[in-house]
């Protein structure tokens, strides 16, 4: 995680970012963590990630199933449900509106004023 980005911001966006990562294609925990890191959210530890995945599943936005691993223990794969896809679309739109409004309120660091 970038040192300048407060933890509260990550906490706020993490469920939506995790849902978005799973919505790209059916995937498992470690791959989600790698996707989030590649997306610029930094290292998301297992102790933070799995409770979010389980909460999304409990809310009916994801489903999960265990599959056999190659030369190792099985992996738990997560897939987005229709309700999850709808939730993602609605919340993503709301998030973009929110960040645009916040952007209008905050000073532009490139401005000389």
């Amino acid at each position: 995680m970038d040192g300048d980005i407060p933890t509260e911001w990550l906490r706020a966006v993490l469920p939506l970012a995790v849902l978005a990562a799973v919505a790209e294609h059916e995937t498992y925990g470690y791959a989600v963590a790698q996707r989030l890191q590649a997306g610029g959210l930094g290292t998301v530890k297992g102790g933070t990630l799995y409770p979010v995945l389980n909460r999304l599943e409990a809310d009916g936005l994801l489903t999960s199933s265990w599959r056999e691993g190659v030369g190792g223990p099985g992996r738990k794969f997560f897939a987005v449900t229709p309700a999850g896809r709808e939730h993602l679309a609605r919340r993503s739109a709301a998030w973009h509106t929110f960040t645009e409004q916040a952007h209008g309120l905050l000073p532009d660091p490139r401005s000389t004023r």
């Binding site: 925990g29 470690y30 530890k45 297992g46 799995y50 409770p51 389980n54 265990w66 691993g69 738990k76």
Partner: protein, 167 residues
């Protein structure tokens, strides 16, 4: 599991989740998630998930809280069960009766009153299984039954010895 350290973590996580009354099926899922993740990354589970107690505490939506009425019923029926069983034992060895009940009547009432508490204990003691292969993550039911039977036999031997000494 990937090694002794992970196995130790697994056992402590099972115990911590049991204390928070998480259902056995969910405990198996949580433990398997941790195992699968650390097997993939080679990381220390305590580093990425925190201590077993802390991780169990963070899974707030998994916790189950007993209703106050259920807890009160369990306590009252447990206390009454203990009283009736004790009275039955005293009546057996000393003769006489309480509340118009013979010794076996008191024991029977005590056993019946112990059913709610016994059911809760049984529910909490359900075996935790790994959802990937069905492997038991806690002592098998056979081991648990043998332990309980052993304790009961020991108790029966003590009572018999006491009865012989008093007569």
């Amino acid at each position: 599991m990937t090694g002794p350290a992970t196995t130790d973590y697994q056992q402590r996580l099972v115990a911590a989740l049991r204390l928070r009354r998480v259902p056995a099926e969910r405990i198996g899922e949580v433990v398997a998630e941790v195992d699968s993740h650390v097997a993939e990354t080679g990381e220390d589970p305590a580093e990425v998930f925190g201590t077993p107690r802390a991780y169990a505490a963070s899974l707030t939506h998994e916790h189950r809280r007993d209703s106050r009425a259920g807890t009160a019923l369990e306590l009252v029926s447990g206390a009454l069960a203990g009283w009736f069983l004790a009275v039955g034992a005293v009546d057996l060895f000393e003769g006489g009766s309480h509340l118009g009940l013979p010794w076996w009547g008191s024991v029977l009432v005590g056993l019946l009153l112990g059913v709610p508490g016994g059911r809760r204990v049984a529910a909490r003691a359900r075996q935790v299984r790994d959802p990937r292969d069905g492997r038991a993550l806690t002592p098998t039911a056979r081991t648990a039954v043998l332990t309980v039977v052993g304790v009961l036999l020991l108790f029966a031997a003590l009572v018999a010895g006491l009865a012989v000494a008093l007569t």
